[in-house]
Subunit: 457 residues, 2 copies
């Protein structure tokens, strides 16, 4: 007889993973190395460690070690909000009338409201261990800044957040959460860095950009003794930390003998998707199993589906190392969508390589259809999802509806990365019927791709 | 050897209570009946059922039935977010350096953000079962309105929320959550009721009050065929539904053989506190155990600690039945504090009787000290608490610090009713150092108590 699956599968505290899984160790085609934009040579540990914490640089560059021990101090912190539940979406299945079995791994049950905390606490730990006084970072939507503030408060580290000025003004409550956790939050561009002053002199009315905030945070870190810069997505180290999501998901599924057919995640820089799918992709790479993996991105910022696999800058300021990734070009400005966490022109190098090798699918979805899925999900599953996470919901619903047509009882697992409590302006536009979606033209993307740096491989 | 207590104790899905516990059945001194304000005679089932759903009226009036079966449809909904975790506050204990063992029952892990959903789903269920088209209610801070919207969306009931106008304008995001769940939200006073039109004619600039919103919701319910009025606190039926909190808490403690010394809850109308403590008070009433029970109220609205135990109106409009309770007088206007859920002049009749009989203690705490406790809690336990809930945190910390002085290893349990994502304006005032607290003068309270209705008992 089949074991009854509860609405929520909770692992035990002692089942919190004790190691992170490095999928690069199982990849035959390794992700391309980061390049020094001056020399076009691979970045070294020494070069990286001027900007990033030493241990994190090691994690960034290590393509071979399969498992990294999670330090006890980090596992202790994880107990505050992990293991996170794997939820069987019985209510959603019923509402859709689908024979598909839908599960979601919910990472929103912590005050930062998202999975970002999994890597924030690791990065803060290594900064503390290195004897640093503090860290700097940028934040757009605010989820990463909030998570880092919580992590720094826990280890007694100073935390300087450069927040894109328009977000700073539009999301004062995000700012207040960070302040409550003791972080200093500076609207970017600011007068506290050279790059900020230069920009303000040129464009006094600018409301900032993520690219500029990154540049300010990096400048602030390298020019302040005892500080380093930290980043919440894209990097290999971040995907590594986020594998707690996938490892817990797999452990929970295994406990009930469930084998997923389709695994779905939203994709911005790729940290959540990479963390969720890594253990499953590892099985595929080792020839132990086969899954359909689907990356879901916004139609307004379609790096996988309409970008090019090439070396590019990770920042608009073009001061960061070059990464080989699916990119729309570092000068591509996505339209103002409500999924701030997915408005990045590039993609994790690991996921880019996996996609190029045919191990993943990708699809782009439009904003209004995303919010339709979000609203249905909120009503039947009782959780108001973040706009970013709702991209995955959209694709999961679409797959479940296909099953309804064909009668197939597929098992679908998706990542619900966070809650939408700070995104209600977006819901208001949806409720008012004033939400639009701007899809870039072929010409716009081609023009941006023309400006890619010339790198011979 | 002592069993190791995990950070979070989760009951299993099948351990969700199957019955609500009616503490009135074990009370020797029953709570005084509601009186018809016209005749001063006890309200009958028939009189009440013009305003409230029939089954809920029966629950309201039944002082004898000890256990009420929870209908399967409600238990199914509970699975969406229950059982809620009982958390061992290891991080807080360490930060305080106390030998006390602190636990909290966390009711904030659902999109309404509070325990209110426990009763909202029950009230919506009985409305649906009675064949009603919809329900009306009022909301101030917005937690109750959000919970009711979620519950009505689940059962396909129409939901009309009258939201105090100043809240409607200051908390547009609360309004959007309700709209996302399909509720109509009307700023009160409104032109859609006679009482609203009258008030607006007299005071065109008014920003409304909870008392007026209640009157509008009641008028709207009784004048619209197929509608009834529902309320989120104070009433016996609400305390009954909220006993799922206390029953789960007790089951989780029993599982590890833990016997609390002190049980703490914040008290506004009393629904959370009553729900949490009922099973424990039941043991006290039956002579099976002894606990210290502490109700914590804001110093700005101190019904227990400075009010009078007397018959009074539950609403400022003086159209509701009279209830015998600790009250500051229905004309008492508490100063504008940030704990909107605790700004009620009266108190549950059940809790009032228990307090009068010496089964509970009460204390009043000041707003700034509440937010100091909230900030510490957020930093070490990782959950940003609602201002209301933080009253209980304040008292729990104070008791734990007493243990630090005396060296006693007391076990303290408190109710963490909800999260503060929609209360960041309050946190901002605290972070900016501009938060004050207005404590009513003896003269103000005496003047208000002079206007109590004359009821001979």
């Amino acid at each position: 007889m089949e074991k009854k699956i509860p609405y929520k599968i909770y692992l035990k505290e002692e089942e919190i993973p004790s190691q992170w899984y490095n999928v690069r160790a199982d990849m035959k085609n390794k992700p391309a190395p980061l390049l020094n934009p001056g020399t076009l040579q691979p970045m070294t540990q020494d070069e990286l460690s001027h900007v990033f914490c030493e241990e994190l640089c090691r994690q960034e560059l290590d393509n071979d070690t399969r498992w990294f021990d999670i330090p006890q101090e980090i596992r202790d912190f994880y107990k505050m909000y992990r293991p996170s539940p794997l939820v069987r979406a019985y209510f959603l299945e019923k509402a859709l009338g689908t024979p598909a079995k839908i599960y979601y791994k919910f990472e929103g049950n912590n005050t930062s409201g998202s999975h970002k905390l999994n890597s924030a606490i690791a990065q803060a730990y290594y900064a503390k261990k290195q004897g640093l006084k503090g860290v700097t970072t940028e934040t757009g939507a605010g989820q990463w800044g909030t998570a880092l503030s919580m992590a720094c408060a826990y280890f007694g580290l100073d935390c300087k957040v450069f927040m894109v000025k328009c977000s700073y003004e539009q999301k004062p409550f995000r700012r207040e959460v960070m302040r409550t956790y003791g972080a200093s939050v500076t609207p970017s561009p600011s007068m506290s860095t050279a790059v900020g002053r230069k920009l303000l002199e040129e464009f006094p009315e600018t409301t900032g950009s993520l690219g500029c905030a990154i540049s300010e945070a990096v400048e602030s870190a390298v020019s302040t003794p005892g500080y380093r810069y930290v980043l919440g997505s894209v990097l290999n180290q971040v995907l590594l930390h986020q594998t707690v999501i996938g490892l817990e998901t797999k452990a929970a599924l295994d406990k009930y003998g469930i084998k997923p057919d389709i695994i779905i995640g939203c994709a911005g820089g790729g940290s959540n998707l990479g963390g969720l799918v890594s253990p499953f992709v590892g099985e595929m790479l080792r020839g132990e199993a086969a899954y359909r993996i689907i990356a879901v991105e916004p139609a307004s910022c379609p790096s996988f589906t309409r970008g090019r696999f090439a070396y590019d800058f990770a920042d608009t300021g073009m001061i960061c190392p070059l990464a080989k990734m699916y990119t729309l070009g570092s000068q591509f400005i996505p339209s103002a969508s409500h999924a701030g966490g997915l408005r990045f022109h590039g993609m994790s190098t690991i996921l880019s390589q996996l996609y190029a090798d045919g191990l993943m699918e990708a699809r782009a979805v439009e904003q209004r259809s995303v919010f339709e899925a979000a609203e249905l999900f909120a009503r039947v599953e009782g959780t108001l999802p973040a706009p970013e996470s709702s991209h995955a919901i959209r694709a999961a619903i679409d797959e479940a509806l296909k099953c309804k047509e064909t009668g197939e009882e597929k098992t679908i697992v998706f990542g619900l990365t966070g809650t939408g409590y700070f995104d209600l302006y977006a819901y208001q536009q949806f409720n008012d019927g004033t939400m639009g979606d701007v899809i870039p033209s072929d010409g716009q993307i081609a023009a941006s791709l023309e400006k890619l740096p010339k790198v011979e491989e």
